[in-house]
């Protein structure tokens, strides 16, 4: 897994979800599990989200904001996610995206893990990748805790869902 500790990834889902995931029993539910920070589409099978983290992460002062946002269709396991880095810390984020750090990700799999979604994606445009950067993308969205766990150029990072 690209830069993310899968054990921690799964632990965030909680014991019940972990057991289900380990057993391969997680099924896609056509409704959003208590998702106040996700915006549900009209049919309830999909959602939009936006999550932000200050970079560098604490205790260092944040200079920029790492933003992941997109739309996920849980039923078809498809969607598009973008990740960008904007100048300014999250409380005073600018509209200036730092060049060379934005990616468009095509979702290729969505796994419902009870309280959360485990999402896999692919960066189709290889020309934007930095040396050593994987084109694979993984992310866990936990609406109940408001946390998104993914990687930032190889390092695990935790983002907070916008309320």
């Amino acid at each position: 897994m690209n830069g993310i500790n899968r054990r921690r990834f799964l632990q965030l889902a909680g014991a019940g979800s972990l057991a289900a995931a380990t057993a391969g029993a997680a099924t896609v539910m056509p409704v959003l599990p208590k998702a106040p920070r996700l915006t549900a589409a009209s049919n309830g099978d999909s959602f939009s989200f936006r999550a932000v983290a200050g970079m560098p992460t604490r205790p260092l002062p944040s200079y920029a904001s790492y933003v992941i946002e997109g739309h996920v269709d849980v039923t078809t396991k498809t969607g598009i996610v973008t990740k960008s880095v904007f100048a300014g810390h999250p409380e005073a984020m600018s509209t200036v995206a730092l060049p060379g750090m934005s990616r468009i990700i095509r979702i290729v799999d969505v796994e419902n893990m009870g309280d959360s979604f485990y999402i896999k994606g692919m960066i189709d445009d290889r020309s934007v990748l930095l040396r050593g950067e994987s084109r694979n993308f993984e992310m866990r969205i936990d609406p109940s805790s408001g946390v998104v766990l993914t990687d930032f150029f190889g390092s695990e990072v935790q983002l907070l869902l916008d309320r």
Binding site: P61, Y63, A92, V96, L98, P99, M101, L130, F153
Partner: protein
């Protein structure tokens, strides 16, 4: 990110980037110890966010000649509106109480200096002064991605292909005061309610970026150096202590870093912390200092596109 993209409210690209300070430099003129070169860069990622200087702004280089963190000399640069792709600059030199204030006073030392929006170099000379303004290669070098990634540096220089808008002023050392040991900082001001208000300022590189959290960054940009210790010394000490410094050492270093003024002895050709040359690896020096030796390099070095003569800053990409 020496000071790039930290101007308060940087949300209207066509306006604020023009007054967002990226860096400033002060060094003895190569081959002439009687003159100094002052470089003042703004507009990060130029011309993407903005393609001119802000004609309403004052771009100011402050010079403190007696170590009281108050300017006794100021160089003030203003620009005409950009019309038909053309813009000109005026440079004034103010002294005494006039230099300390928020105004555009002072004696005109350069007038009608054209701004270069391409790789051409048009310099304007008047008496002992020489001036250039225009689009240049950003001389700052830093692994920004490694910094954002928690100091996991890979040697990738984010700024290697970026441009800025440069103002380069060659001055006789006598114009910097009789005492060779001076302090320099730069700032940008905009008119608000019939007065000029400080929008951004910078002394040493990356101070505001590395030490200040959240809204403190904006506060730091708005205040005068005379307020630095009162408002920020405690937080600077706390940050330094978090990197393992004793309370005494942290306080001593914080009082070197604050007030945020670039110290420069114009009788010396040495570089940072004496002034700052375009090739000085200020980030490596500051990383080692701030982190108590835990991080000593970001593994990138000076750009190779610098010019050997005025205006010294490389041609734009």
């Amino acid at each position: 990110m020496a000071d790039h993209l930290d101007a308060p409210g940087l949300k209207s690209p066509n306006m604020d980037a023009e007054i967002d300070i990226t860096d400033h430099y002060a060094f003895q003129k190569p081959g002439d110890p009687n003159k100094s070169i002052l470089v003042f860069n703004v507009n990060p990622l130029a011309p993407t966010l903005a393609n001119s200087f802000q004609h309403e702004a004052i771009y100011e280089i402050k010079v403190d000649t007696d170590a009281d963190a108050v300017a006794e000399i100021a160089f003030r640069i203003t620009f005409s509106p950009k019309v038909n792709g053309r813009q000109t600059a005026t440079v004034r030199r103010a002294v005494g109480a006039n230099a300390a204030g928020n105004n555009n006073g002072g004696q005109v030392i350069i007038n009608h200096a054209p701004v270069n929006f391409d790789s051409s170099i048009t310099t304007t000379e008047s008496g002992p002064y020489k001036f250039y303004a225009g689009l240049r290669s950003d001389p700052f070098f830093f692994d920004l991605l490694g910094f954002l990634n928690g100091f996991k540096f890979t040697g990738s220089d984010f700024f290697i292909d970026k441009n800025v808008f440069s103002m380069v002023l060659e001055v006789p050392n006598t114009a910097l005061g009789g005492n060779s040991k001076i302090g320099i900082w730069v700032r940008t001001l905009m008119p608000q309610n019939d007065e000029f208000v400080q929008i951004d300022r910078m002394g040493r590189p990356a101070i505001n970026t590395v030490f200040n959290h959240g809204d403190a960054k904006n506060t730091f940009n708005h205040i005068a150096p005379t307020q630095d210790r009162a408002l920020f010394e405690a937080s600077f000490v706390a940050t330094l202590e978090s990197f393992g410094y004793s309370s005494t050492d942290a306080t001593n270093i914080a009082e070197i870093l604050l007030p945020d003024i670039l110290t420069y002895d114009y009788s010396s050709a040495a570089g940072f912390l004496n002034g700052r040359k375009l090739t000085d690896d200020v980030i490596d020096i500051e990383l080692a200092l701030v982190t108590n030796g835990q991080v000593t390099t970001d593994m990138v070095g000076p750009h190779t596109d610098l010019l050997s003569e005025f205006p010294y800053v490389g041609n734009p990409h």
